[in-house]
Each structure stands twice: as C-alpha cells, then as structure tokens.
C-alpha cells in the first residue's frame, strides 16, 4: 500500500456527475483500506456553475481539503474547469481531462470568448491527458455515463484494485443504471 497520501480534485460543471464520480473514488479508496476524506460544496453549483470535489486518501487523513501544489491528479469533466485548478497540481501531478467544452453564460451571450485551453496548457507545459470521453459515452448510447468513462481512465493511476472499483460502483450507483456505469468504467480503462 502506498504510504503517502493521494490527493485528487474532480471538477466539472453542474449536472455532469462530478459528485457521483468523487463518491465512487472515495468508496473505492475506502474498500482498499485507506482512510478517506472528501469535501465538496453544494448549493449554487447545482445551477450549471463550476463544481469541484476534493478527495484525499492514505493512512491517516486530517484536512478534507487539498492544499495548493499537492494534487496528484485533477480529473476534469470539462476542459476549462481542469485548467482552473492547475495551481493545485503537485510537481509531477497531471490533469486528466474530458475533451469537452461547455460554454459559460458569458461566452454564450458573446460577452467573453471561450479561451483556447489546449494552447494555454501547452504554454505552461502542464502535463494534461485529454480523453475523448464524451465520444466513448455516446458510443455506449448514454452521454450521462461520461463521468464513469473518465473515472475508468484514471483507475490505472490510482493505488486501488479492480475489485474495489467494481464494489464501489455497485455501492454508489442506482441499481437500474449499474450495468451502463460498469460498462462505461471498463471502456474508460481502455482509453
């Protein structure tokens, strides 16, 4: 078992399943035998705003919040949201991002432009792995499972065994959606 603490930030926009993804990661880490804490903010984020969840696991966890400069991984359900959290990355950490762009209202109305996120990431040389998760979810016939595809994609980088991931998904996902979520997770592992 990894002795040190693993810090993950999962971010996205309201309605993308960010909180379910962090719930599954949390449960999986717990089944693996780690002490776990996670923190998120509900409320205003439900109306299409930015959503984020901090997940920390290891031998003994105190703070439920990840400290700046210490995140091993940022899992972004949306491109710009991933870049927003970049200052939290530890040296050697990286962003795993869905290649999806969702316009905030200011961009939709033309008051602002959606930035060229890829260029901004290249400019700083931030390690970022972009994943066509939406495409994969749509191929599976359900764009809603994009969060599980992305979770599957980070699974090989987490010190968590396959069986604990499966157990966590079974525990967290409603029964009727279980099959679709497990398939999405498996698909993500291949990406």
């Amino acid at each position: 078992m990894k002795d040190s603490t693993t810090n993950v930030i999962i971010c996205g926009t309201g309605g993308q399943g960010t909180l379910l993804a962090s719930e599954v990661l949390c449960a999986a880490a717990m089944f693996q035998g780690f002490d776990v804490k996670k923190s998120e903010v509900h409320g205003m984020s439900q109306r299409g705003g930015s959503v984020s969840s901090h997940v920390r696991f290891g031998k003994k966890i105190y703070s439920p919040l990840v400290e700046k400069g210490t995140a091993d991984l940022i899992l972004a359900m949306e491109k710009m949201e991933g870049l927003r959290w970049a200052p939290f990355l530890a040296p050697g950490g990286r962003i795993v991002s869905c290649d999806l762009e969702i316009n905030p209202m200011t961009v939709q109305t033309g008051a602002a432009e959606y930035p060229d996120i890829d260029a901004l990431i290249r400019e700083q040389g931030i390690p970022c792995h972009s994943i066509k998760a939406m495409e994969a979810a749509e191929e599976l016939g359900n764009p809603k499972v994009v969060n599980m595809v992305l979770l599957g994609a980070i699974a090989p980088h987490m010190p968590i065994d396959e069986e604990n991931w499966t157990k966590a998904i079974q525990e967290c996902v409603p029964h009727k959606a279980l099959e679709a979520n497990l398939r999405a997770f498996a698909r993500g592992r291949e990406l």
């Binding site: 002490d35 804490k37 509900h42 400069g69 700083q124």
Partner: protein, 595 residues
C-alpha cells in the same frame, strides 16, 4: 435531493457526510422528532432522516422559528428532538432560542446551526458561536463526521442532564465533507410524557428571574464538567507554541503542524476554564486558529490576560484551508506552486433551461423594470442578460424593502420595481410583509414566483406543494385566497412562460395605483421529467440575427456564426420561450403531445 443509500464500509462503519452523520447520531440517540426549514449547508440532515431513519418523525416547517417552536413543544412532551437550520436560519429562530435557554429541556434538545464561512451559498458569514453564547446555551463544535455523530449523542445527554438546549455548530466543510464513521445501534428511549410545570415553562418576570439564576449556575456547572469531558482535549507536543483551535480548523492544524501542542475545544460554550488554564501553563506562547470571529481568542485572552495571538495572523474573513493555516503558522513554507493561475471566464450558476422564472425576468427586463429581490433561485435574476433584481436582504425582505422605498421616495421615485419572492420564501416570512403593505396603505406590486418547490436547496416540499417531507400528501396552501384574505384587492395568476400574458400583466400592475399581487405559476423543472424528448430547432435561413433569443439567457442557446445554436441535450422539452421571442419564426418546436 438525496437519492442514494448511505455507503457501507464494513460492519459498523459508514462513509458519511457531516450532515448524514448528524442524522445517524440523532437516530442512535433515540431522537423521536425533528423539524427544520431547508437551507444550505444544512438541508441533507432532515432529508437523510426522512429517507433512512423512519423511527424519527421528521418534518419541514414553514420557517426556522416554527421548526424550533414545534421541537420545543415536543421536548416539553418528553421527546428527544432535533432542529436543523443554516446560520441565518438561527436568526429567524432566535426568539424561541433565547427563552428556551431559560426554560431548558425536558426531552433532549439539539439545535444544528450550519454556518457558511466563505459564503458558498449565503448572504453573510456570521459566526453562530456568538449567538449561542448570547443565548447562554451549550455549543458543541464537531471537526469531522465522526464527531458530528458523537456530539449529537453526547449533546442529547448533556441537554437532559443539565436541562439546557444544545447548539451543534457545524460549518460547510464539516457538513459537506465525507469521512468514515463508526456507528452503533439505536437506543430506544420512551417519550416521558407531558406534565404541566408553569414555574419552568412560563417565563413571566417573576419566574424568569429565577430561571436566569439557574442558567447562570448551569453554565458554571457545565464549565467544570467540560474540563473533565473528552469533548475537549490536550494533545501534548512541542511546548514552545500551543495552538488552541476548534471545528474543522483543528484538522488543518493537524495537517500543517503535526508537531504542535494543541488544545482542541469541542465544547465552546461554556468554555472548559480549568483545562484551558492547565494548557496555558504547559506552553510558552499561544496561537488561536479559528475560522470566523476571534471567539475563543477574545474570551480566553480577556480571562487570563494572555498575550496570545490569533486574528493578527489568521484571517477573520472567509474560510480557512490548509494553505491559509500553513501561511499563518509557518510563513514562507507554502508548497511550491508549479503552474500559475490563468485568467479564465467565470462560470457562475444560471437559471436552468426551462426555468419558469426566466419568463418573468425576461418580461421585467423587456419593460425596463426590475425588482427588489429575495432568497432563492430567482436571486439569479440579477445576472445578465436580465439584470432584473436590485436588492436582497434576507428571507422575505423583498416586500418590506419595496414598501420602505415607497415611504421614502414614492412610487415615482423608485420607478418600475416589483417585489420578487418565491412561494416558499413568501410562506417563510413574506406574508407578514404583505399584511404590512395592506395595513399601512402601500400601493406596490408583489410578484410571488410560485414554482411549487423550494428549489435552490435542491428541491424540497413546502406548504404549497401538497406533499410533506416523508412524501405523504398534505393540504395545499391557497396563495390567491391567502393574499385576498390579507386584504389585497388585485390578485392575478399568470403562467410566466406565456410571455404575452406575463408582459401584459406586469404592465398593468406596474401602472396600477393600488396594491396588487401577481402569482407567476409554473412548476420547477426539477418537479417532473418530460416523457418526450422534443427540442427547439433554429432555421438559419429565416434568422435575421436580431439576438432577441439571447436575451433569454438560456443555457441551451449559444450564439455561433451569427445565429442561435440550440443544444438538444440542454433544451427543456416543455419550454417554448425562444419560439415565442423570435420575431421571424426562425425558432420552432414540435409541441404536440406535450401537456
């Protein structure tokens, strides 16, 4: 709304949020009754109780004051009770709280105050330890989910043993963080029954003077008891600097100063003076690390005249975090930040696609009118492109503010304003404002935005929805007749998505020189899932690029290449707003079979 069962880790352990842990603790403590009004970050406490723990009779009240009064009554009957609210909710419940402190508890009383440092979803960041102290009640401060569960159980015991209400002071990071909790079974305690006791429960001055003496003695007894209790503890470490801390700040201190000597305060009123004195004798210097007001700092420093520091280095405003605490305790040792922040467009929340409020705000905006606002999703009416909300004070204040403006500057002085208030907020504390308008001869317009749901907090029932917390049907409060009974002569009901009618109604009522109420009625999109997946389509041939559709501020419509682009994923099947606003018929929708 919660829809998930609680996660089981292993036998006897659950992964719980602080709010879920409060619900669990209440259940284990044998609590019989719970009442609350929803408010972030406290809402899930009652939702969890309703979903997971049917042994507790739980209900939404119209507001926090009523919730606490009903809980008090149940306690008088010998039931163990819990009442939960957000921090500003305790202001509403302050009246019963302050006197309930004198009366005490028959069945145990635990009141949860969920404070919101950093104001993630609140209008202020008041620190309710100050309220609890002013009310002379016990305050317990959990620092994680395990302590939240433990302190509800211990709180019930303290409440009954010392005859006092107990305030469980949570914060957003405790309410909405999850961690592993060791749990136990429920202890069944019979409801002891009601016995009249006027000396105890009727605080006429002659009684209340005696009650106050008892309260003062109670605090002394509790302080002595608390110094011996495991609620507070000294964690010895490096004696050169001792840190006094409470709540989630304790976790941040442990994270960044594992070597420090720590006094962790779990009961922050009354304070464990003996234990504090002992700790001060163990360390050379003292630092207070607490979120919000310098509550511990001021009380402890003034009693012991200790030259400690606290708010000199720990911010008073906003939330603490491990970064902030590290910067305060170990300046210059922050973790190196490799990647710098980029200036990106913000992503504030917006009204959902299909939101009934959109039609009302679009029309206000079109008429160059605006509103005195209130607390709910519709506070978002202040955002562009609507820009149709100009004030917010507290629950229900839209109405009083509109009346006051009329008193100061007259209808002509404030121009085209209506009071915009949701139906749940109106029932919470708008009704008295409306009665005041009638009584004192105001002539403005109140717009009750009735979406049949307490929506901002995630979709809860209220007296207008026809359902209770447990899903049982209830009578539906008749808003039209309520307003008429208050004395309002002109009450109109309009579908806010019928833009023509909405605009006409607003125009008429804004021009009327008498008091009127407009009820905009259409259910929240969270109330139902439409069966048919119909979405609007845009005909670029017909489009004249007038951008009228963009004035709706709908998340499903974006502007690309000189024309609107409709997201089929986001477009709400039962909404027809863009089709109505397009002057050339470029937006259309198959609306058949919709209703």
């Amino acid at each position: 709304m919660r829809h998930r069962k609680l996660n089981v880790v292993t036998e006897g352990q659950l992964l719980l949020s602080g709010n879920e842990a409060v619900a669990r603790g209440a259940w284990e403590a044998g609590t019989h009754f719970a009442a609350a009004y929803p408010g972030t970050p406290s809402t899930e406490i009652l939702e969890t109780i309703a979903e997971e723990y049917p042994e507790i009779d739980a209900q939404w009240a119209p507001n926090e004051k009523v919730a606490l009064e009903v809980a008090a009554g149940a306690s008088f009957g010998g039931a163990r009770v819990l009442s939960a609210m957000k921090h500003v909710g305790l202001n509403v419940a302050a009246d019963p709280l302050f006197t309930l402190s004198y009366i005490g508890a028959t069945g145990g009383i635990v009141i949860v105050s969920a404070d919101d440092p950093g104001m993630h979803s609140s209008q202020n960041e008041q620190d309710n330890r100050l309220m609890g102290r002013a009310a002379k009640v016990v305050i317990l401060e959990p620092s994680d989910s395990q302590e939240a569960r433990d302190m509800v159980i211990e709180g019930m015991r303290i409440s009954e043993d010392f005859d006092t209400p107990v305030l469980l002071r949570m914060t957003t990071r405790v309410c909405h963080s999850k961690s592993v909790v060791k749990v136990g079974p429920r202890v069944e305690i019979p409801v002891s029954g009601y016995r009249a006791d006027i000396m105890k429960r009727v605080p006429i001055p002659a009684h209340a003077r005696k009650m106050h003496s008892r309260v003062v003695k109670r605090l002394d007894d509790l302080s002595a008891w608390s110094s011996e209790s495991s609620l507070n503890r000294i964690e010895p470490g490096d004696p050169s600097r001792g840190i006094i801390t409470s709540g989630v700040s304790y976790q941040y201190v442990k994270e960044v100063s594992p070597e420090a000597s720590i006094l962790k305060i779990g009961m922050s009123n009354p304070l464990p003076w003996n234990l504090i004195e002992k700790f001060l004798g163990m360390v050379e210097k003292v630092v207070f690390v607490e979120e919000g007001e310098p509550y511990l700092e001021e009380r402890i420093r003034s009693r012991f005249l200790n030259p400690a520091i606290g708010k000199d280095i720990v911010p008073l405003e906003g939330e603490l975090s491990p970064d902030v605490v590290r910067h305060a305790l170990h300046p210059g040792t922050s973790k190196p930040v490799t990647w710098y922040p980029v200036d990106l467009p913000g992503r504030p929340p917006v009204l959902c696609p299909g939101c009934p409020h959109r039609g009302a705000f679009y029309c206000l905006s079109k008429l160059k009118a605006s509103s005195t606002g209130d607390i709910g999703c519709y506070t978002l009416g202040l955002m562009p492109p609507h820009n149709a909300l100009e004030t917010t004070v507290c629950m229900g204040a839209s109405i009083g503010v509109l009346s006051g403006l009329e008193k100061a500057v007259g209808r002509g002085g404030y121009g085209k304003l209506v009071a915009a208030i949701g139906e749940s907020t109106f029932v919470h504390s708008g009704i008295t404002g409306l009665i005041d308008m009638v009584y004192n001869g105001n002539t403005g317009t109140v717009m009750i935005m009735d979406n049949s749901l307490t929506a901002m907090t995630g979709g809860q029932h209220n007296p207008t929805t026809g359902s209770r917390l447990n899903g049982q049907p209830s009578p539906v409060l008749d808003l039209e007749n309520l307003c008429r009974a208050c004395g309002v002569q002109h009450v109109k009901v309009v579908d806010p998505h019928d833009l023509k009618e909405m605009e006409k109604t607003l125009k008429e009522e804004l021009a009327r020189e008498e008091l009127s109420v407009i009820i905009t009625r259409r259910p929240c999109v969270m109330c139902y899932r439409p069966a048919k997946k119909v979405h609007a389509v845009s005909d670029t041939e017909k489009c004249v690029s007038c951008r009228q559709c963009m004035k709706l501020g709908c998340p499903a419509i974006s502007w690309g290449d000189g024309h609107p682009v409709i997201s089929s994923l986001l477009c709400w099947p039962k909404c027809n707003l863009c089709v109505q606003v397009c002057p050339v018929g470029a937006l259309s929708k198959d609306m058949e079979g919709q209703e």
